[in-house]
């Protein structure tokens, strides 16, 4: 329903042509299947091939976007689509201020804003499955989730509050050639609230067998699941007009549409 409202009201995108720079910075992620946290062993989720931005969207990218689309300036934005802390860290509508780096991921962005941005680039937000699929990779392997070092890296970041200014590209380049999926900021997904972590996590374990089937819940002791749990928890705590200091985004494009062009 939310996306319907969005489409009616906001699919008016003035910056549609300013997309070339971003397109060049995408990498192909070859499709496949994977078992998400909430699945059972026999349920593999298929992920078709797609292109993903190499880096999260930066402050400087987003400045350009609000210049082209003034209704997304922080003084103009409608609260229904972005709560009051939207772009709070920026100095004003078009200047990020000295505290922030142009090449840092843009944060304090709502789902509506992120979604609009991607659509204006002729792209879209990744689904949870796409995001999780590409984020299973470390430098060398497409699925590194069983490696202790991979999980420790992720968990170490989750545990650390108060992130400092970190430019894009400051974490590792993964198997697909994509940077910063772990260790910089949380990232929006298109269907972030489709898997409901209700907030009462223990209840989820007991009753929602789709989400945490019995064996997964009981066996959810390894680091891999804990890291994923935390991502699902943060997604579950969000609403589409929420913004957070640690939450940015990047865009994707279905592989076929690019091939066809």
């Amino acid at each position: 329903m939310i996306s319907k409202i969005y489409n009616i009201l906001f699919f008016l995108c003035l910056g549609l042509l300013q997309t070339q720079a971003q397109n060049n910075a995408m990498k192909l992620v070859k499709g496949g299947s994977y078992i998400p946290l909430y699945g059972v062993d026999t349920v593999l989720v298929k992920v078709p091939s797609f292109f993903m931005d190499v880096y999260p969207v930066t402050n400087q990218d987003y400045v350009q976007f609000v210049k082209d689309n003034p209704k997304w300036k922080k003084s103009k934005v409608i609260q229904l689509f972005a709560e009051e802390n939207y772009l709070r860290h920026w100095q004003n509508d078009e200047e990020i201020g000295v505290e922030n780096l142009p090449v840092e991921p843009v944060v304090n962005i709502s789902w509506f804003a992120a979604n609009a941005y991607c659509e204006c680039q002729g792209k879209r937000l990744p689904s949870i499955d796409e995001w999780e699929y590409v984020a299973m990779a470390n430098e060398k392997m497409a699925d590194a989730r069983k490696l202790k070092s991979y999980n420790e890296f992720i968990l170490a970041w989750y545990e650390k509050p108060k992130p400092k200014n970190n430019p894009i590209g400051s974490t590792f380049k993964n198997y697909w050639g994509i940077y910063d999926l772990h260790g910089l900021v949380w990232e929006w997904t298109s269907d972030f609230n489709s898997v409901l972590v209700s907030g009462e996590s223990r209840k989820d374990v007991d009753t929602d067998t789709n989400l945490f089937c019995g064996s997964a819940a009981i066996g959810a002791t390894d680091l891999m699941n804990y890291a994923a749990f935390m991502r699902y928890a943060i997604r579950g705590s969000l609403k589409a007009n929420y913004v957070m200091k640690n939450l940015g985004f990047r865009c994707v494009k279905t592989a076929d549409t690019i091939k066809n062009k």
């Binding site: 907030g199 928890a233 640690n246």
Partner: protein, 472 residues
């Protein structure tokens, strides 16, 4: 909870039934902001006040703190302390709870208060993303001392990082008056490095799953209530401790060395037990203990699963000042030789003793010394001579030790009481005299001086003998 009450009333206990029924109907009058305190302090008693609408503003902060000297840890906290802020209410209060997740935080959180009657104890209604605030209300129906904690996935990790605290629900008219009240809460911590390993230590999930704690502490860190931070009281005062256990895993055998609890409000509920030595506090549970301090001195609070106290940090101090009362406790009156054979034999039975092996080289001295150390000194001064911060001074790189060999010998021979300063830290505890031979004292000191960055002195049996004979 209602099922239980129904059962009670079915037993025909009319009084219980009545009072419970009443508490949900107690009218609230004015509104007030709840006083929140960081441990070991508690807010003022409710006294005779009427039930009110009580606003609780609690902020969640993820921040780096110190587990023990040189060991850092990122704590997740309710109100900036571990345990979180103490909340004090009375039966019938309507609590309006505002849970605020600081924008700098990385993770969503919530709160489950065991004092809440309702699904999830408030957890479902309080789930809140960083930079946001959640509000919910509840009426406190049952008097008692309750744990609250975070219940966001992964639940164990949120608790293990310090997200727990206590909420007290006083009966109408309040708890009986006492002179001093304190807030003490135990928790177990799991770090990647072993106990004492320096630097910023991340949480270790595997150890937590295995329940293999590196630290078991009161109020979030080693030495939170020792030395200058010790709890204090005066002779003759009655002390009430609100003791909680956040876990996540371990059950506490809570004991105060040298005291007997006059009253224990068992599990924080209405059952009163009298004259208790050690009370069991489950993870996610609490107890209220009360005792009158009759004599001065330092009383040590421990988890009597005793290795936790002396090796993992579950140790706190209550310093009581005032007049001695020899009728209750004499102190050491006399020290003499004990003869199992009776008084006729006047010398120590040394003749029967197998002569001790005498070390023939420095290497042997150190080896023998190490054996004595592990038998005699290790429990307090620890395997690497690091001591226990706030309780037992370090021997590793110790300025106090290296400054004066004779003093070191004297301490082993005669014991040591009172305040000393070691590497800038003040210690005030007791070391008893050690029953070692001159040879053993020489070896153990030589071992200590030749370990852990000390001055590499060699101590001989003759030096020890001289000190024993009066220090010439």
């Amino acid at each position: 909870m209602f099922a239980l009450l129904a059962f009670v009333s079915a037993c025909g206990d009319k009084k219980t039934e009545k009072s419970v029924e009443d508490s949900s109907k107690i009218a609230v009058y004015t509104e007030m902001e709840a006083e929140l305190t960081a441990p070991p302090n508690v807010p003022a008693p409710v006294g005779n006040r009427v039930a009110k609408k009580l606003k609780v503003n609690m902020e969640i902060l993820e921040e780096e703190g110190e587990m023990t000297d040189g060991v850092k840890y990122v704590y997740w906290t309710f109100g900036g302390s571990v345990p979180g802020s103490f909340i004090r209410t009375r039966v019938g209060d309507e609590v309006e709870f505002h849970l605020k997740n600081h924008p700098d935080n990385k993770l969503p959180h919530n709160i489950d208060l065991h004092a809440v009657t309702g699904p999830g104890g408030g957890a479902t209604s309080s789930f809140v993303a960083p930079g946001h605030e959640a509000q919910f209300s509840f009426k406190v129906l049952n008097p008692g001392l309750y744990v609250y904690h975070c219940a966001t996935a992964p639940v164990g990790m949120h608790i293990a990082n310090g997200m727990y605290g206590l909420i007290l629900v006083e009966p109408e008219g309040g708890l009986p008056k006492v002179d001093k009240e304190y807030y003490v809460m135990q928790g177990d911590f799991y770090t990647k490095g072993e106990n004492g390993e320096r630097g910023l230590q991340p949480f270790d999930m595997q150890k937590a799953v295995d329940e293999d704690a590196d630290y078991v502490v009161f109020n979030g860190k080693v030495g939170s209530m020792t030395g200058d931070n010790a709890l204090t009281a005066k002779v003759g005062e009655t002390i009430r401790l609100f003791v909680g256990n956040g876990g996540p895993n371990l059950v506490s055998s809570f004991h105060v060395i040298g005291e007997i609890f006059d009253v224990v409000r068992v599990e924080g509920g209405s059952l009163e037990n009298k004259n208790v030595q050690t009370t069991l506090i489950p993870a996610g549970g609490a107890a209220i203990v009360e005792f009158k301090v009759d004599v001065p001195g330092t009383f040590i609070l421990v988890d009597h699963s005793i290795f936790r106290a002396f090796n993992k940090g579950a140790l706190a101090m209550l310093k009581v000042e005032g007049e001695e009362n020899k009728g209750i406790y004499s102190g050491k009156e006399k020290e003499g030789i004990y003869h199992p054979e009776g008084g006729a034999i006047q010398t120590m039975p040394q003749g029967k003793k197998v002569p001790a092996e005498v070390a023939s080289s420095l290497k042997e001295k150190i080896a023998f010394g190490k054996t004595s150390y592990m038998q005699t000194c290790f429990a307090c001064h620890q395997a690497e001579g690091q001591g226990i911060p706030g309780a037992f001074p370090p021997l590793a790189k110790s300025d106090y030790l290296n400054a004066d060999v004779d003093r070191a010998i004297d301490i082993i021979l005669n014991g040591k009481t009172g305040e000393i300063k070691v590497n800038g830290q003040t210690y005030n505890s007791v070391m008893t005299r050690q029953n070692l031979t001159d040879e053993e004292v020489a070896n153990v000191l030589t071992y200590v001086y030749n370990s852990w960055g000390n001055s590499k002195k060699t101590v001989t049996a003759t030096m020890v003998k001289n000190r024993r004979n009066g220090g010439h």
